[in-house]
């Protein structure tokens, strides 16, 4: 990629700003999901797919990905400017999260030329929705123990088994799939392989899972003699664990390569502040309560800390003691904060915390309680917070395995 031309960058940023100002619809007439894991209706799905496509076509998604694969071929700074504009104008989320943030960076890193040519553009355009098949019902945090089998037969693998927590599984065209190709490998990790697998083929079925919020968004995926092409193998047979771990690092923010945009819009301290300003307690404005102020300040300080930690990751002399520390901690820091912040917001709503999504009296349409419940998807999914503690303890602090 070329050097950053500051003037061109400024022009691009101004155009992006104007474009999002123009194109973000503040009220689509129905409730949009806050995260890619909460796409529960076709209406939401269709809207978000069109939106992502539109953003990409306008050049504000994948601006830093190579031109030949549908990207803009520009320096990273251009995409950052576009994402900033998207955020400023409260643009809806990018739908195709697994494709954009997991598959895409992986293929750019270690995919074959054929893979890149076949998949990357469809990821950006949202034509090809991706999902992820790592977790299994019986081995939630123990990915290395995955039991879904893939048996090679000629130019295909025959897959049997089941995957769970497949986000947008019912919409996906492809899955990144972790399956066991060698059940007799001495180390369980060595028996796994990593595939780009088609979803819309015989033998693949998805069943929606009802979330604790009462809504949908995930599926369980069942494979029954499903035949997937062998050229979807990424890495060699038996190297699936290594590839999967690399993929998780994209999710944990420990590697770059994402095409920009965001797949989660989080309520932040300022939203909570705004909420607090609107509430009353015992006939007085809640914001005048010093106890509430003290707790709000705790949250604001913590949110600012996490933001600063993101910035500090880029300053090498300030991360030299434990170079991977901030990157490996960021999932734990951010997901637990979101859970606690939403929980706190629920208490701010006082008696009306008794209402839930769907009641006309619910504060802010009930997003706070729903947001709190949904926050567990991030403290549980992608390695629970307990597992994150192990990872940080062992890989950053150098403590022995539990």
């Amino acid at each position: 990629m070329s050097e950053v031309n500051e003037k061109e960058l400024a022009e691009f940023a101004a155009e992006a700003d104007a474009w999002f100002a123009e194109n973000v619809d503040p009220d689509p007439g129905f409730m949009l999901p806050l995260t890619f894991m909460e796409v529960g209706t076709d209406q939401q799905f269709d809207f978000l797919r069109q939106w992502q496509n539109k953003v990409w076509e306008a050049g504000y998604l994948g601006a830093a990905w190579p031109r030949e694969y549908g990207g803009g071929g520009l320096p990273e700074a251009f995409q950052r400017a576009a994402t900033k504009a998207m955020r400023k104008h409260n643009g809806p989320i990018m739908l195709n999260a697994i494709g954009l943030n997991w598959t895409g960076p992986l293929l750019l890193d270690i995919g074959s030329e054929a893979h890149k040519a076949k998949y990357l553009k469809g990821i950006l355009s949202a034509e090809d929705i991706w999902c992820q098949g790592f977790s299994e019902p019986e081995h939630g945090s123990d990915l290395g123990n995955a039991q879904t089998r893939a048996v090679r037969e000629g130019e295909e693998y025959v897959v049997n088994g089941s995957k769970i927590w497949t986000t947008q599984g019912n919409y996906a065209k492809y899955m990144i799939l972790l399956a066991r190709t060698d059940p007799d490998a001495p180390r369980k990790y060595d028996g796994l392989s990593f595939f780009l697998a088609p979803m819309q083929i015989p033998g693949v079925e998805t069943h929606p899972i009802r979330k604790l919020t009462g809504e949908y968004g995930f599926t369980q995926t069942f494979f029954t003699d499903a035949r997937i092409p062998a050229d979807g193998l990424i890495g060699a047979e038996g190297e699936g664990w290594k590839v999967a771990m690399r993929t998780l690092e994209y999710e944990r923010g420990a590697r770059g390569g994402q095409p920009g945009g965001y797949v989660i819009t989080e309520r932040d301290a300022f939203d909570v502040l705004d909420l607090a300003r609107r509430m009353m307690r015992g006939g007085e404005p809640l914001m005048e309560d010093p106890v509430m102020q003290d707790r709000l300040m705790d949250f604001i300080i913590e949110i600012q800390a996490n933001r600063l930690c993101q910035e500090r990751q880029k300053v090498a002399p300030l991360t030299s003691d434990r170079p991977m520390g901030l990157a490996l901690s960021s999932k734990l820091m951010s997901t637990e904060l979101v859970r606690r912040l939403n929980e706190f917001a629920v208490t701010l709503t006082g008696p009306r915390a008794g209402y839930y999504v769907g009641d006309e009296n619910a504060v802010d349409e009930g997003i706070w309680a729903r947001g709190y419940l949904n926050a567990f998807s991030a403290t549980i999914g992608g390695g629970t917070s307990q597992i994150q503690h192990n990872i940080i303890g062992e890989h950053v602090l150098g403590l022995p395995k539990s």
């Binding site: 123990d142 604790l212 106890v291 567990f376």
Partner: protein, 372 residues
């Protein structure tokens, strides 16, 4: 500040605890709870009838009015066990309506209504309003007129209103808060709107008072209104605390079961200190809450001490249930994120109870005013 409440436990409490434990366990298995969530009535009338026959609806009603003649201290173990089984129904709202009559009713009103409540007529209270003030004296609904009172205003969170024969509403009347009896037969069409509440086991309604008229004889004793509202506030908190405490116990038991069943990395997950130790914290916090509950029950009728013990108990129960249920979701992992896992039932109930009749911060502020 010498006496903040003490533990005491009567034989009647012990008997009721034992009977309620098996009754609620048998009548309210979780499959039943989930079936009732989908049911529009939301509770089982046959079970309600059984409760009436057991005399539970009259526990805290004097014998002179057809009750058993005990107090709220004896209602507590029953409600605790109901909470433990997430049992639905108008038991608490009916009991509180009885308390409102006892604390604020005229002799004629008590004689007319208390026996009917004891026999099994569901009843409820209409207290909260849109401004969300837990202070029950801050009423904006009104009752105006002489021999006939015209009511107006909106009441929120009127539990079991569709089932109840009687609603007791707080209104502003003649320059002061007052309580008024409304027979639900008299409600105009559309006066009730079912609310969507966080705790799906409950049935709660918005009640529009506009257009309702009642004879002035249905006004409770206006001289006792403030005292009655204060009593209702504390009684509601006491019984909420009982529900929450039972619910916390069940939530912990449910989670412990999972930790003893589910394996990850080849070991039962309960063997990991990351799950074991916070579970212990939840348990210890639960035991503290339960001690507060039975102190509040025992001390409830003591002037001053009853209020202190009750507010402390609600605060402790809020902390215990919120923490236990939050960790229950997390510790169930992926399953915890599904509707099929019971953890969210407990968490939703925790949010409901924390939000009704004052949350922990509110009660602590009141306590600080009394004690510091």
């Amino acid at each position: 500040m010498e006496n903040l409440g003490r533990i005491g436990f009567s034989e009647e409490q012990a008997d009721l605890l034992e009977v309620a434990e098996s009754f609620c366990r048998e009548r309210s298995p979780v499959e039943r709870v989930r079936a009732l969530i989908r049911d529009s009535l939301g509770h089982d009338p046959a079970v309600w009838q059984e409760m009436a026959e057991l005399g539970w609806l009259g526990i805290a009603i004097p014998e002179a009015y057809g009750g058993v003649g005990l107090g709220l201290a004896e209602v507590v173990p029953v409600v605790e066990q109901m909470g433990r089984r997430l049992m639905a129904g108008p038991f608490v709202s009916t009991t509180l309506a009885g308390q409102a009559l006892l604390a604020g009713g005229t002799e004629a009103q008590k004689a007319a209504w208390l026996p009917r409540l004891a026999e099994g007529m569901p009843a409820t209270l209409a207290l909260m309003e849109a401004d969300g003030n837990w202070d029950l004296e801050a009423v904006t609904a009104t009752a105006e007129g002489g021999a006939t009172l015209s009511l107006s205003g909106q009441k929120l969170f009127v539990e079991n209103a569709a089932t109840a024969g009687l609603v007791i509403a707080s209104v502003f009347h003649d320059g002061a808060p007052a309580l008024v009896l409304i027979e639900t037969e008299a409600l105009p069409d559309g006066a009730l709107r079912r609310e969507t509440v966080i705790d799906e086991t409950r049935r709660s309604f918005e009640l529009t008072l506009d257009g309702i008229s009642v004879p002035s004889s249905q006004l409770l004793d206006t001289g006792k209104a403030r005292a009655a509202l204060s009593h209702i506030h504390l009684a509601a908190n006491l019984l909420a605390t009982a529900e929450m405490t039972g619910c916390t116990q069940a939530c912990i038991d449910y989670t412990i079961d999972y930790l003893n069943t589910r394996k990850q990395f080849g070991k039962l997950i309960g063997s990991y200190q990351a799950l074991k130790h916070p579970s212990v914290d939840a348990y210890v916090t639960y035991e503290q809450a339960r001690s507060h509950l039975y102190s509040a029950a025992h001390s409830f009728t003591e002037q001053g001490t009853g209020e202190v013990a009750t507010r402390m108990a609600k605060t402790a129960a809020d902390k215990a249930l919120s923490f236990a249920a939050d960790r229950a979701i997390q510790f169930h992992g992926g399953f915890g994120f599904t509707y099929d896992c019971d953890a969210h039932l407990y968490r939703r109930r925790a949010i409901w109870h924390a939000s009704q009749h004052g949350d922990a911060a509110w009660h602590k502020r009141k306590l600080a005013q009394m004690l510091l």
